[in-house]
């Protein structure tokens, strides 16, 4: 198409004149910057990008992206995006949402969009708090958390967004972290390459209402001990000196010390294309256990499921191919009719 002959797009092309209105130090800035630098690399003309969001700090995202953007209502972004995709499957539609937006009020639309495998890229900004409304707990807040609405601590067990997505038949599930810029960019690129619904949980810090939400995973001293990076075809290794690994024995994962006998060969080699959703489910659950690191990267990448919008539009094309394009006059005259003479 014409656009390919135009000068290649740059990060600047995706920035708006709108003043970015997040708190200084908010993790959202990094995510914005990552997306703005990945989009130009996708070789897609700018007018083909649409960013849809709900309501929340994270959902301000579209205002700062110089693409088509729609800041809808709380929790409904996946449904709006589904309608858009059904009419325009050719567009590159990204959804920016928060842990409250996507998993609390919007939970139903999120799981249905995933089971349908609508061709959307979903960026879930998980700061484990309601930022925009100034600090109530969210469905990802750790149990017992004291917040504005729970001065004595929450009583709710949180969702693990990744397990919920897998339980909803998601075909692509990944996790990255606001402060791991390169990892975030790589993950976004990998998601962009997935045809169907790509669900990306981005661990994000809200330095105002939930500062340090992810310190365990992000602080220099500890991160390498608490995070294991999943890389396709590579063993699961972590630790400051990359001296720890994860073994898989049946359903059981085990943290092992490398050396004296234990080698990389004994470790679980990550297969993001593993045919069983259970595989990703097992990985997703390790973090719930003491002594285990939190996995980041692509947990599941199952390419071979048709996109919802393609199935729907193909059905229409096939019918037209078979019956021919509908003729309105014929339609109106269908069924039992009779003449009344003048």
């Amino acid at each position: 198409m014409a656009t390919t002959t135009l000068p290649p797009l740059t990060k600047k092309d995706f920035q708006t004149d709108q003043e970015v209105r997040w708190c200084p130090g908010c993790g959202d800035y990094a995510i914005l910057s990552a997306v703005q630098s990945v989009f130009p690399e996708l070789g897609i003309p700018r007018e083909k990008f649409v960013v849809i969001s709900g309501i929340g700090c994270s959902s301000r995202f579209p205002y700062y992206m110089n693409t088509f953007g729609f800041h809808t209502i709380h929790g409904r972004a996946p449904a709006v995006a589904t309608g858009l995709k059904l009419i325009r499957p050719d567009l590159e539609v990204w959804v920016a949402t928060g842990d409250g937006d996507a998993l609390s009020i919007g939970g139903n639309h999120t799981i249905h969009m995933l089971r349908r495998n609508v061709g959307l890229k979903v960026l879930l900004f998980n700061n484990r708090i309601y930022g925009l409304t100034k600090g109530q707990y969210s469905p990802t807040s750790e149990i017992g958390k004291k917040t504005k609405s729970t001065p004595y601590g929450t009583a709710d067990r949180p969702f693990n967004p990744v397990s919920l997505a897998i339980g909803s038949e998601a075909t692509y599930v990944a996790r990255t972290v606001d402060v791991f810029m390169q990892h975030m960019k790589d993950t976004l690129k990998s998601a962009a390459a997935h045809k169907g619904a790509a669900f990306i949980e981005i661990l994000q810090n809200c330095n105002i209402f939930n500062d340090g939400a992810w310190h365990d995973l992000t602080e220099k001293e500890v991160r390498s001990e608490h995070v294991v990076q999943l890389e396709h075809g590579k063993p699961l290794i972590f630790g400051k000196n990359r001296d720890k690994g994860i073994k898989m024995d049946g359903l059981e994962l085990e943290v092992v010390q490398l050396g004296n006998g234990v080698t990389e060969k004994d470790l679980l080699i990550h297969d993001e294309h593993h045919p069983r959703a259970s595989y990703a489910f097992v990985l997703a659950h390790m973090e719930h256990r003491p002594g285990f690191p939190t996995p980041i990267g692509v947990l599941r990448n199952w390419g071979d499921v048709p996109r919802y919008e393609d199935v729907v539009t193909t059905q229409i094309k096939d019918v037209i191919a078979k019956k021919g394009a509908g003729d309105l006059a014929k339609l109106l005259l269908a069924g039992d009719t009779w003449e009344v003479k003048a």
Binding site: T3, T16, Q18, P45, R46, E47, K48, V50, I52, I55, P62, Y63, N66, T67, F68, G69, F70, H71, T72, I73, R76, A79, V80, A81, T82, G83, L84, K85, L86, I87, R88, D90, L91, N108, H109, H112, V312, T313, Q315, I316, V319, I320, K323, G324, A325, G326, L328, A329, L331, L332, L333, A334, G335, D336, T337, W338, E339, V340, K341, A342
Partner: protein, 617 residues
């Protein structure tokens, strides 16, 4: 009972200008099919008609019980028909329960056909009947024909080697055959229909045909009836006609709007009685490029439609009361971002789940005011089943011309009721011109068309038009988020002015009947038929009455206030507690009086006439 024997030898044929017949029986007796076949036949013959299918509520009742009774009524005439008729000339009752539920509507000395074989002990108990009406003389006031429908049908089908169950399923066609004879109607259209419907099961087609013919010949042979009737064709305006229910008409109307506007049709919907059929209809029109999306709930239904509208489709969402309630937040979004959308509310009885299969007009105030903050929205209402076609097109036209969501109200009575509909020529259909912006040079997402106040429709994928929409208050023209006090007031008034501007497309109203006089009836929606019939009858008695039937409920036609001044009284009949009348009184300070029926059923002509007499006599 030996009616058959007592019948005299030769048969009179009486010519009438109209007749009302009702088929009723158990949900399993196929009364809707029977009624529809009878309707098609009289329609093809050229009568005007109106039908009233009355399903049992959204529950499955045990066979033979009162809640399981299903009915189908049709009035057909050589003159104009506006209602299915207040009472019936002929009643076909397949079991005691049906008889009990429907007898009250049969005219004195009316024809009553019952299935004698279904009046056994247990049948009577299921109908909670204390004695057998066929024997307790409670039916003496009627011309009773107690026919062994079951036995006679089995006899007629014995050679076909069907099991008893299958044979008994044909007895409604035996009854239908009798009615065809009674009203001197041919059976060929029904034969055609059976051949077509059972093309894969020729045996069943044959069985039903034999049953029908057996019923017909039964009358011929036994001369069961002393009399048969003839209703000559009506003088409908020339053209090609078909029967159409309101829900079918809506579906066709939206397809037509899609074709005329050149926009793909998108329907986001979640099933709900009595709106589901619109989804069923449209899901069949893939050859017209129609996309139907059965969403996870009503909120996803409307928001997906908003997404489709954003993408440049003609987007609609269809529902009934409870679903309407769930869509209200999203309607606010459509209003704020000024995207076209048609929201169809097929009203049903409430509150809450209420009476899902019964009709009501009580969602008007919700349509007008049921959103947070100042969120004005155009509201239209269809008056007859066929009118649903035109209103679907008009709602679509307004939505895309003014870039605004539009609410279209119908109800359960319109949705399921049918009437002969003159099929329009394509060139009779309104134009629906649409233009997307494509030129980036000084494009502003909220710039205004001076005539319509519409903002441009700039769809994703258009180079150079990248822009942001959202539900926060925005600055006019630029669309940038803006919380300044005066800008907010400006935008609130602008959104209201935009809806008001639609009045320029609404012709001034001309009351039907007397242009001025003693009484003006102002109404809307499915009350049209009963009111028209009632007003005609009363004007024939010399009363000076006008009738205004509003299709535009927001904004109102320009001259409505002035017209109301021309009459001594203003009466507003509604199937609610007085919703339109509330708005009229407030807007025009006119002492309009409500006339309200909240029974889940349409007005009867007699009720309208009674009220008119109460006011004017």
């Amino acid at each position: 009972m030996a009616t058959t024997i007592e019948t005299p030898r030769q048969i009179k044929k009486e010519v009438l200008d109209k007749a009302v017949i009702r088929f009723c029986g158990d949900s399993g007796d196929g009364m809707q099919i029977t009624g529809n076949q009878f309707t098609n036949t009289v329609a093809l013959y050229g009568n005007d008609l109106a039908t009233f299918p009355d399903y049992p509520a959204e529950i499955r009742a045990p066979a033979g019980t009162l809640p399981g009774v299903s009915g189908f009524q049709v009035q057909f005439s050589s003159g104009d028909v506006y209602t299915p008729g207040d009472s019936v000339d002929a009643l076909v009752a397949m079991n005691p329960a049906a008889l009990k539920m429907n007898l009250a509507d049969l005219k004195p000395n009316g024809i009553l056909i019952v299935n004698k074989d279904d009046f056994g002990e247990t049948d009577l108990r299921k109908a909670q009947a204390t004695s057998n009406p066929l024997e307790d003389h409670s039916l003496d006031a009627y011309r009773l024909f107690a026919v062994e429908l079951t036995r006679l049908t089995r006899v007629a089908l014995q050679e076909l080697g069907l099991d008893a169950k299958s044979m008994d399923r044909c007895k409604n066609f035996f009854a239908l055959g009798m009615c065809f004879w009674l009203y001197n109607r041919p059976m060929d259209s029904t034969v055609r229909w059976l051949d077509d419907k059972f093309s894969k099961k020729p045996l069943l087609a044959e069985a039903n045909k034999r049953a029908m013919k057996a019923g017909y010949s039964f009358c011929e042979a036994t001369e069961a009836f002393q009399i048969s009737y003839e209703i000559p064709p009506a003088h409908l305006s020339p053209g090609t006609y078909r029967n159409l229910s309101g829900n079918q008409a809506l579906a066709l109307g939206f397809v037509a709007a899609s074709q005329k506007s050149g926009l793909p049709l998108f329907q986001g919907s979640y099933p709900i009685t009595p709106a589901s059929d619109i989804l069923h209809e449209l899901s069949m029109y893939k050859d017209f490029g129609v996309t139907t999306f059965q969403a996870e709930d009503e909120i996803a239904a409307i928001t997906s439609a908003i997404g489709a509208s954003y993408a440049g489709a003609l987007a609609i969402t269809t529902t009934s009361g409870p679903g309407m309630a769930l869509k209200t937040e999203a309607m606010g979004l459509a209003i704020a971002v000024e995207l076209p959308l048609v929201i169809v509310d097929v009203q049903r009885g409430g509150p809450s789940t209420g009476l899902p299969t019964k009709t009501e007009q009580a969602d008007l105030l919700q349509a007008l005011y049921g959103r947070n903050s100042e969120a004005p929205i155009p509201v239209l209402a269809a008056a007859t089943p066929g009118d649903c076609f035109w209103m679907a097109m008009e709602a679509s036209r307004i939505a895309v011309k003014y870039m605004v969501p539009v609410i279209l109200l119908t109800d359960g009575y319109l949705a399921n009721g049918a009437e002969p509909w003159r099929i329009p020529k394509l060139n009779e259909l309104p134009e629906i011109p649409v233009k997307f912006v494509t030129d980036p040079t000084n494009f502003h997402p909220y710039s205004r068309n001076p005539a319509t106040l519409a903002r441009p429709w700039a769809i994703p994928g258009t180079p150079g038009l990248e822009h942001r929409l959202g539900g926060l208050e925005k600055q006019d023209v630029t669309g940038n988020i803006n919380y300044e006090p005066l800008n907010h007031e400006h935008m609130v008034r602008l959104r209201a002015a935009k809806v008001e501007a639609i009045v320029q497309d609404i012709p001034d109203i001309v009351p039907v009947g007397d242009p001025e006089g003693d009484l003006l009836i102002v109404a809307w929606g499915s009350t049209y038929g009963a009111i028209t019939a009632g007003v005609n009858a009363q004007r024939a008695l010399g009363k000076r009455i006008g009738h205004v039937h509003l299709r535009n409920l927001n904004p109102f036609p320009r001259n409505l206030g002035e017209v109301m001044q021309r009459y001594r009284h203003v009466l507003v009949p509604e199937m609610n507690m007085g919703q339109l009348v509330l708005v009229l009184r407030s807007k025009y300070l006119v002492d309009a009086q409500g006339f309200n029926k909240i029974q889940g059923r349409p007005f009867k002509q007699a009720e309208i006439e009674g009220k008119i007499e109460e006011i004017l006599d």
